[in-house]
Amino acid sequence: MSDGMNGADADMAAMVADVIPEIMLIVGGVAILLYALFVPRRLQAGAALLALATTIGAGAVSLSMLSGPQRLTFFDTYARDDAAVWSKLIVLVATAAVIGLSAPWFRRDPRHGEYYTLLLFSSLGAILLAGATDLKEFVMAMVLSSATGFVLVAYHRRSSPASEGAIKYYLLGAFTSAGTLIGVAYLFGLAGSTTLTGLDAGLPSSGTNLALIVGAALVILPLTFKIGAAPAHAWIPDVSQGAPAPVAAFVTSIPKVGGFLFLARFLLALPADAIDWRPLVAVLAAATMTLGNLAALWQEDVRRLLGWSAVSQTGYGLMAIVALERSDLALPSLLFFLLAYVLGNTAAFGVVTELRGRSELTAYTGLARSRPWLAGALAIALLSFIGIPPLAGFFAKLALFGAAIEAGYTWLSVLAVINTVISIAYYGRVLAPAYFGERAGPAPVLGRWAAVATLAAATAVIVIGIVAEPFFRAFADAALLPG
């Protein structure tokens, strides 16, 4: 009897050990909430330090979990594989950078302590989504990530662009998620289980099954919302433009990490003979990258432009999903893409933040002369989005193109190339005035910490490109459970 108890305790302890970073985020978030409640206004900024310490601590623990046992935990509902650990690391590093951007941005806001609680909970949502291997877990993670995201976007209550962005974000989220539970119920009914392992074993493996298609579609739809893919991408430009600039950096990139990972896990659990999802995702990828690019061409507002560019980047990322199981490059390309994209996006929005959120193109004219370091960070971020070597974005695109070609989707690679060429036109519209234009006026900046975070992200984009080997090696060995 006592042996059995000890065994269960040991199991429980092992399971808890698998989610220490997640627990740290919860504890950190709650601690910040209490801190914000009880300390006077002048000390509210301390919340940023607490949040930073939490992300660094959780990141350090995640780092120690790399190359550990690759297994499912909590009764097959959560993955403790390298793909999940890397997702944690990407999310936490980017969150730390966003905290750096937020500190000077919210300095004057008297009640900003709780902002960091929301930020930590939102990254927890992304992390849970990246590791989820169960549909109920997926629903819970989606709600956590989205609900915090809505509040973060609308954090400046009196700003009408922020409210507009938040409303669109919320409505699209609500519309796409409305049927999620119905879809989960369908799949549960078909497979008799909500875990991905159970779906893999229990779903009807051949023949056309309408319930399966409807169920799968209702799960995929909210994921397209989360990663900003067509047809649920429309919130990204509005949120980019309206949200506080550090929040825009956050919500246009970090939740995508979770969304992409769960999309990959979920699609792999579907029976390939009964539901041919590959062409569908390829069409989504093609539509997303093309739509994002074409829309970005007409933008006069740098933040909107970055938002549409974020949409097109999602389209490139979906190429990796298409290639899953067809190419050894698929998972490495997905993880490297997420790493490069999240850092590049943080750097780009970091420049916007440091320029006090100004987003009209004229504010960037002559930036190379007035703020050479910021202009450099912007150039690195945008050139990385284009895919210029040796920046991280180039290696991401290289691996994505290779994966798609190997998976038999050469047409998708060709389309991605055409889109990349188109994208120069709008990235050039920001870079050209920044470098070729004469300084239009003073370029006031926000503060030291935002600059440090921005430059750190931009430096990482260069370094991760040049020193890509350890990442590719780790990603090549990473497992994506339950696959």
Partner: protein, 541 residues
């Protein structure tokens, strides 16, 4: 040592980019001088070149302009000194070169072994002359006076950066590394044209960027296609040449070939992919034009030889004839359009289209599938490679000259000039030699190249060679007319005070022209090196 030739300029570029700008009156950062210091600065900027020529500066901005000129001169001398190092290293590599037909002096480090990517550089009879020519052109271009627009350090940083990546491209023995340098070269040139160009520079820079990046992405897909066919997977060129992973026929090989072709054809450029070239050349600053024509265009032609002929010889054979026809069209079209130009720089730009046509014609003849003509094919191929070097030197010189003309006269319109022979002897002399070399006069480098190209092609594609010869006649006509318009006839009164080339300009151009003459008179030292590559490639016994 080769690695040093690549990275010394790149590291120096980073240092130059980080040099803080000194506070000089007229600088927009420090409002030290008069309230109109901004305009004073601009005057001093455009005077930067004129100082050499007229030694007259707007008096109000004198002290600021003097200090700025001293600062810019210091930076330029430092940049030139750095640029001389890779040139010396290339000369040293040339001395040690043995001509075994294999890659020599290879330096390799693993970079991303998971993907089969390595840092591998080395030389053979193809890359050595091109890399050495690149180093020389950059030294000359960096030393050449130019309107710096008040941004001296960034200009020289970009030039040095471009020097490193260009040398790196020719030395790279790994397709991945090759692509990295390929893309970086176009980013560097984009900023050079955009910031220091004139006219509609931003538009030209964007057009250049869009076109060549489109080409480079086609190239990327082709490289990936080739990479995915290798077993074990690698980007190592020597290994891929050994593996010959793709068959001569089939849809996959054809698509890969077309991807490479598109990338290289846009950069070379071959008709109908040339439309980015004239605006980019015309609006770029003189030294950047020289680099663009002398070095960047060669990258496309180099790719044809290095990748398509060496790695996909079977597929290249299938496409040799269409390629030769495109080359002849480029020759005729380039020369005819050049004939119609009144703008000096556009004229030179179109002669580049014409000359790169000769190169491609020679390559097509060298790679064609004909039995028993290996000697002729080796001659055509050698000629094509010599033409790459000769065109780099000659056109580099011509573009630098046009930059000097612009700095003095602020126009490229040839019919506004005349009679300069009497005012500017050095300018006249150097231009005449360069123009004659470009039109293929014997005892100059262009003749050596074109003679071999046509001699070799006559054996393979006699009719095409005959049609292509017309290009030489047209080129002769247009260069003679150019010389006549610029230097002969009455001197328009507005050029009565036209100043001759400065000392730096004469030495820089003189170095290029001297090499053109040396290659023309005693070409053996160059031909032997190139032949050590070309002979084995065409399978000559």
């Amino acid at each position: 040592m080769l690695t040093a030739a690549i990275f010394i300029p790149i590291v120096a570029a980073i240092v130059f980019a980080l040099v803080p700008r000194p506070a000089i009156a007229g600088d927009d950062e420090s409002p030290v001088g008069a309230p109109d210091s901004e305009s004073g600065g601009v005057l001093a900027d455009s005077g930067g070149v004129l100082v050499l020529a007229e030694s007259a500066v707007t008096p109000t901005a004198l002290s600021g302009a003097d200090r700025r000129a001293a600062y810019e001169r210091t930076i330029q001398i430092a940049a030139t000194a750095v640029a001389a190092v890779p040139l010396l290293l290339m000369v040293a590599a040339w001395v040690r070169f043995e001509g075994t037909g294999a890659f020599e002096q290879v330096e390799a480090v693993s970079w991303i072994p998971t993907l089969g990517v390595g840092y591998r550089v080395g030389i053979d009879g193809l890359s050595l002359p091109l890399a050495a020519m690149t180093a020389l052109i950059f030294v000359v271009a960096i030393a050449y006076p130019v309107d710096l627009r008040g941004r001296a350090a960034p200009y020289f940083a970009l030039m040095l950066f471009l020097m490193g990546v260009s040398i790196g491209l020719f030395l790279a023995l790994d397709l991945f590394l090759f692509f990295v340098f390929w893309d970086l070269s176009l980013v560097g040139m984009y900023f050079l044209i955009g910031v220091w160009g004139h006219g509609d520079a931003q538009r030209s820079a964007l057009k250049f960027f869009v076109y060549t990046l489109a080409g480079s992405l086609a190239l990327l897909l082709a490289i990936l296609g080739l990479y995915l066919a290798t077993e074990p997977r690698t980007f190592d060129m020597a290994e891929i040449i050994r593996q010959q992973p793709l068959p001569a026929t089939g849809l996959y090989a054809t698509l890969v070939f077309l991807g490479f072709f598109l990338g290289f054809a846009i950069k070379t450029p071959i008709i109908p992919f040339h439309t980015w070239l004239p605006p980019a050349h015309v609006d770029a600053p003189g030294p950047a034009s020289a680099v663009l024509a002398g070095v960047l265009l060669k990258m496309g032609a180099y790719g044809f030889v290095r990748v398509l002929m060496a790695i996909m010889p079977g597929t290249f054979e299938r496409f040799a004839l269409p390629l030769a026809i495109l080359a002849v069209v480029s020759i005729l079209y380039g020369s005819l359009v050049a004939l119609a130009q009144s703008n000096l720089k556009r004229l030179i730009a179109y002669t580049s289209v014409n000359h790169m046509g000769y190169v491609i014609l020679g390559l097509a003849a060298g790679g064609a599938s004909v039995a028993g003509k290996a000697n002729a094919q080796a001659i055509a191929l050698t000629g094509a490679i010599v033409e790459m070097v000769a065109h780099g030197l000659i056109t580099g010189a011509l573009f630098l000259i046009s930059g000097s003309l612009l700095a003095r006269a602020h126009t490229y319109e040839m019919n506004e000039f005349g009679g300069l022979a009497g005012r500017a002897r050095a300018l006249t002399g150097l231009t005449v030699v360069a123009a004659f070399a470009s039109l293929g006069l014997p005892a100059l480098a262009g003749f050596v190249a074109e003679f071999q190209i046509f001699a070799g092609t006559l054996a393979v594609y006699p009719w095409l060679a005959a049609v292509g010869l017309a290009g030489i006649v047209i080129t002769a006509a247009l260069f003679l007319r150019m010389l006549q318009q610029l230097f002969l006839g009455p001197l328009p009164p507005r050029w009565a005070r036209f100043s001759d080339l400065g000392r730096v300009e004469v030495v820089a151009l003189g170095a290029l022209i001297a090499l053109v003459i040396v290659i023309g008179v005693i070409p053996a030292w160059l031909l032997n090196v190139i032949d050590s590559f070309a002979g084995p490639l065409v399978g000559r016994e």
